[in-house]
Symmetry: C2
Subunit: 386 residues, 2 copies
């Protein structure tokens, strides 16, 4: 019986995680849940799974949740402290880090430092502070199990093979809804256009990141840290069908790939059950029915975010955190119709250009760079410079 904490239980990864736990009640038990603003769903989840603790963002929400869960013997806490309390819960064996955005860093680091295995769905943790997290994980003997379908694929394609034999990692990307749009139309892309992802059902932030390819850029950085592979050894292929989730090429020319229908349940369940697998009640992959899988190189002219991510990774230090923060502000501004779609990479590039990168020595230093980048990005937007 593995005891599990879900940070971000009301998001799409959190919900899928709880569905798997419900399917395999003998294997898993939920001991803590945290959520942002979706109190209704959090309370429903708490009534179903009876965790020891739940956490929400502010004390007002905590009061509401406490009333709704009264008599169930569930502790309700709030704020970053509440998240950390859940992430480090004594009885927990594994923490599913499914909070979206930079907010995931502090509780994820707390979980690692407390010696909890982490199923990592929060990209920003590694993008911002990959060096610190990996060092802490090594020190604590903690396993970091990727939940992203791409990293789960690479993790599966590396199993049983030698790290020294890797020639390159190949991350696949659906290419998003604008894969075939001409550059001239990019300025007229609306939030509604961008939210229509062809293959995956995800939160808004990640859907926009998929449309700009920044999602893939963040994944390149994440792959660098998770698998200890240099940026020059990580490639991206556009693969619109999202069936090949990623690949590893070895020195003898062999490529090992992981494939599957696009459903987050498979990578989530692999992170929960590794090194075993769960017999998921899912439709299998039918390649004969699909007929064909296609691949092409990404167009860096129309999707400059991918180039920015490689630049940030190669420069290192606080620059990836700055890029990530500027991207979060840019995506929010695009969704609020404050900047055009092409303004997203433009804003990120501007913020990156005026940042002096420093070594990442502490989480506090990273968070400082993150705050600086958000202020700077908002200034650019407010000044009408994008």
């Amino acid at each position: 019986m593995k005891k599990i904490v879900v940070l971000g239980s009301t998001g799409s990864i959190g919900v899928s995680t709880l569905q798997i736990v419900e399917e395999f009640p003998e294997a898993y038990r939920i001991v803590a849940l945290t959520a942002g603003t979706n109190l209704d769903l959090l309370c429903t989840q708490a009534k179903t799974f009876h965790p020891a603790v739940v956490a929400v963002i502010n004390s007002q929400d905590a009061k509401i949740v406490r009333e709704r869960l009264s008599g169930l013997n569930i502790e309700v806490c709030c704020g970053v402290e509440g998240m950390i309390q859940c992430a480090t819960l004594d009885q927990a064996d594994m923490v599913v880090a499914a909070v979206v955005g930079a907010a995931g860093l502090v509780p994820t680091m707390a979980a690692v430092q407390a010696g909890k295995d982490v199923a990592l769905a929060n990209k920003e943790t590694l993008v911002m502070a990959g060096g610190l997290i990996m060092a802490a994980a090594r020190q604590q003997g903690v396993k970091l199990l990727p939940v992203d379908s791409e990293h789960s694929a690479i993790f599966q394609a590396l199993a049983g093979h030698h790290h020294g034999d890797i020639r390159r990692l190949i991350l696949t990307a659906s290419g998003g809804p604008f894969r075939e749009w001409p550059a001239a139309k990019f300025n007229h892309i609306s939030p509604a256009d961008a939210l229509a992802h062809p293959n995956w059902s995800m939160g808004k932030k990640i859907t926009i990141d998929s449309a700009t390819l920044m999602n893939k850029g963040l994944e390149v950085i994440e792959a660098h840290w998770l698998f200890d592979v240099a940026a020059t050894m990580i490639d991206v292929h556009i693969h619109p069908e999202s069936i090949v989730h990623s690949m590893v090429e070895y020195v003898d020319g062999s490529v090992v790939a992981q494939l599957g229908v696009p459903d987050m349940k498979t990578p989530i369940s692999y992170a929960l059950s590794w090194p075993q697998r769960l017999p998921l009640n899912q439709p299998g992959l039918d390649l004969c029915q699909l007929g064909s899988l296609t691949f092409s190189a990404p167009d860096l002219q129309r999707f400059p975010c991918l180039t920015l991510a490689y630049q940030a990774l190669e420069s290192g230090g606080t620059l990836p955190a700055v890029m990530n923060a500027a991207n979060e502000v840019a995506v929010a501004a695009f969704l609020n119709a404050q900047i055009p779609f092409t303004g997203i990479p433009e804003l990120i590039e501007r913020v990156m250009a005026c940042h002096t990168s420093e070594a990442v020595t502490t989480v506090e230093r990273v968070l400082q760079a993150d705050r600086w980048a958000r202020v700077r990005a908002r200034e650019f937007i407010a000044g009408g410079l994008i």
Copy 2:
């Protein structure tokens, strides 16, 4: 320094194996070579690699070879005894079993019984006597490393994963040159048509087997023995590009595949170097340039050999050996223009239908069934019954 015996050194697998040994002289040394009738190539190879022993089929050829290699301190022997002497050589660490056809069984079994690891390219060994070979390998603690690209792919896709988590194996097949030919034209297929394989350069026998899909049938049986997976859990997909070499589907819906350009050097080198890999000087896979990979179900109406192989595997006993022997006779008869292309499955089916299958208890019992099938098949041909 791994000391290697190559059984069948003048065939395409043997030649590729020697190319790899030549590329990595610090890692491998050739200690014995055996060949059929290509004495010129055998002597050239012997002069290059200086094995301790070489073996040929008959004493007359042995005399010729002995003269040509005089003064080189290379022992020349002949016949089945000569092959066995090479396969069991004291100093050998690994035997590459690359003889084509049923003739590979006895020396391969001898290698296993002598405790030599075997890189297995001879399909017939497992098709005819899979149960005996696997039992002997277990008893001797011998590793059987697949050289067929499909089985090498499955071997790589199983590494690091749990056998109990397998849902099915998916063997890919190019579909051969007649993949898109209408059934009506099958009776007019000439040996020249059938020898034009689209992707792989191989010997005649295997090229015809590719055209009938019997090659894939033999591989299904081989996969059953190598990976201990039931016939009902082994599927075949037609994949004309021959890039995905095979796949394993797991219980969680994950599919792990091995891909690469169609070149036997990769699987051969993996068998030689496993669990490490050799840095082969080969062009990498460029999926973006390829553009697309396609898949379809095999057409069992036009390619009945595949169904015959599944039937032989499910019946078990001596039936797979009988099927294999009948196929060898049928392919030779087709190449000699004695029977039409459609006569190949017809002849195999007839021979199988009049065989009473028995348990495979000894190699001699299998060879007896093999001989019986050959006689019977030749009778059908001589009688003009095909």
